[in-house]
């Protein structure tokens, strides 16, 4: 039989793994993204699956192209977009998508204003995303059950068609909050069955948020002193219990405000200052936050 592959020919899996640079990206992911254990685990699995699929193809073993449409669910600021960006890179390196770019779209980019406007709009976005990854943020807005004439349904149908028929051309990632995505999938069973990977992004723990803050400061060439670190830990503990908390995004905003206060303090202090002082965030900068005075609703000051 010609079909049987030469079973005794050995393939160097390690070499192939090295060549694909996947480990590099996964390491980068581990370094730059704090926490997110289940997500990283799934990324490892997907990378492994794709490598093995490619190996099997090389050996002439028949393989169906795995479907890699995904849904990312999680609270705001848990890193869905960041991971999607990395996902595009990984898929490109293992040869699943040809270009590896990420096109971010929301309802506005897909759904038109009047009859006949939706199809060309959706088609254009799909064409842009071909060869890469299409990331649809807050995908549940596509479907508005309260308005049966809503054009979102048209966009959904086109998406489904392309997801099924042009699997080799693009990967679709839907993202949004968990509960609303669940209702969205319930009312659009076609989506649910076409998406193989459902990744849930957990909220960050306090120590993870702290690590994120340190990482962000380090990237911007700032640092905490010991007292400031203690103050920021207290700040975070308070902040997570207050409304509008958006995980890493809140941390980023907090740091932006810290920089503001630090600059203000330095200017008020005047005189000659050292480079160390320019990069240091003091406990006072943090303790000035309104979070310590009962949160956003307590007063107007920052």
């Amino acid at each position: 039989m010609d079909q049987t592959p030469a079973t005794d020919s050995l393939i160097d899996l390690d070499e192939m793994y090295r060549e694909s640079n996947v480990q590099e990206i996964l390491d980068e992911l581990d370094r730059e993204l704090v926490g997110l254990k289940p997500v990283k685990g799934r990324l490892h699995e997907i990378a492994a699956l794709l490598l093995v699929t490619r190996l099997r193809e090389n050996l002439g073993l028949s393989t169906e192209r795995p479907s890699l449409h995904m849904s990312f669910t999680g609270h705001p600021g848990t890193g869905k977009t960041t991971v999607a960006l990395r996902m595009a890179k990984i898929l490109h390196h293992v040869g699943y998508v040809r270009r590896g770019h990420l096109v971010v779209a929301t309802r506005d980019d897909l759904v038109g204003q009047y009859v006949g406007h939706t199809a060309p709009k959706t088609k254009e976005v799909l064409k842009k995303a071909m060869g890469g990854v299409l990331f649809i943020d807050e995908a549940y807005y596509l479907y508005r059950p309260e308005n049966e004439r809503d054009y979102g349904q048209e966009a959904i149908e086109m998406l489904l068609q392309v997801m099924e028929n042009q699997r080799e051309d693009l990967v679709v990632i839907l993202a949004g909050y968990k509960d609303r995505m669940d209702t969205f999938f319930q009312s659009n069973p076609g989506f649910h069955s076409r998406i193989a990977h459902h990744l849930d992004f957990p909220d960050y723990e306090l120590d993870e948020l702290m690590a994120i803050a340190e990482l962000m400061l380090q990237q911007q060439r700032y640092h905490f002193d010991a007292a400031a670190r203690q103050a920021f830990a207290e700040y975070l503990a308070l902040r997570v219990t207050q409304p509008h908390f958006a995980n890493a995004r809140s941390v980023r905003n907090a740091i932006d405000r810290l920089k503001l206060r630090q600059a203000n303090r330095l200017l008020a202090q005047g005189g000659r200052i050292s480079a160390e002082e320019l990069t240091r965030i003091d406990a006072a900068d943090i303790r000035a936050s309104r979070v310590f005075r009962g949160g956003l609703d307590s007063d107007d000051g920052a």
Partner: protein, 139 residues
């Protein structure tokens, strides 16, 4: 008579795979690609009909191929060409243009000789297909 024009006029018709590769070359050079069709094959006819808008911001040839195939489905028996436009200052011109679809029957051209004063002859090319009104030429 097989009509040729554009960048690969000296070659046999490109296969889809070759078209994809050429389109990808355009996109890699940052040339927006457009698809045009016509049923008037005269070489001086520069105004072909546009198939939709030029395709901006694409990264991968698959998007262009979708449009080419849609155009082929709508006009299977007309000429379809693909243009790549180089917008760089100093060039600002069509950088590549080639035919990707042609009618099954191409009747060719009639060479008309017009005798004018002093035994001069003026030549005119007239496509046989253009005898019929637009839209009914290659049926």
């Amino acid at each position: 008579m097989r009509i040729t024009q554009g960048t690969f006029s000296f070659l046999p018709d490109l296969t889809d795979e070759q078209i994809t590769a050429q389109v990808q070359y355009c996109l890699d050079n940052d040339w927006p690609v457009s698809v045009e069709y016509t049923d008037d094959p005269h070489p001086r006819n520069v105004y072909w009909d546009m198939w939709g808008m030029p395709l901006f911001d694409l990264k991968d040839a698959a998007g262009v191929m979708t449009e080419i195939n849609a155009c082929r489905a709508a006009f299977p028996n007309q000429y379809i060409r693909v243009n790549g436009y180089d917008r760089r200052l100093g060039r600002q011109t069509t950088a590549i243009s080639f035919i990707v679809n042609r009618p099954k029957q191409e009747p060719g051209f009639y060479l008309e000789r017009q005798e004018v004063a002093d035994r001069q002859v003026r030549y005119t090319l007239r496509p046989y297909a253009a005898d019929k009104p637009g839209g009914q030429r290659y049926e």
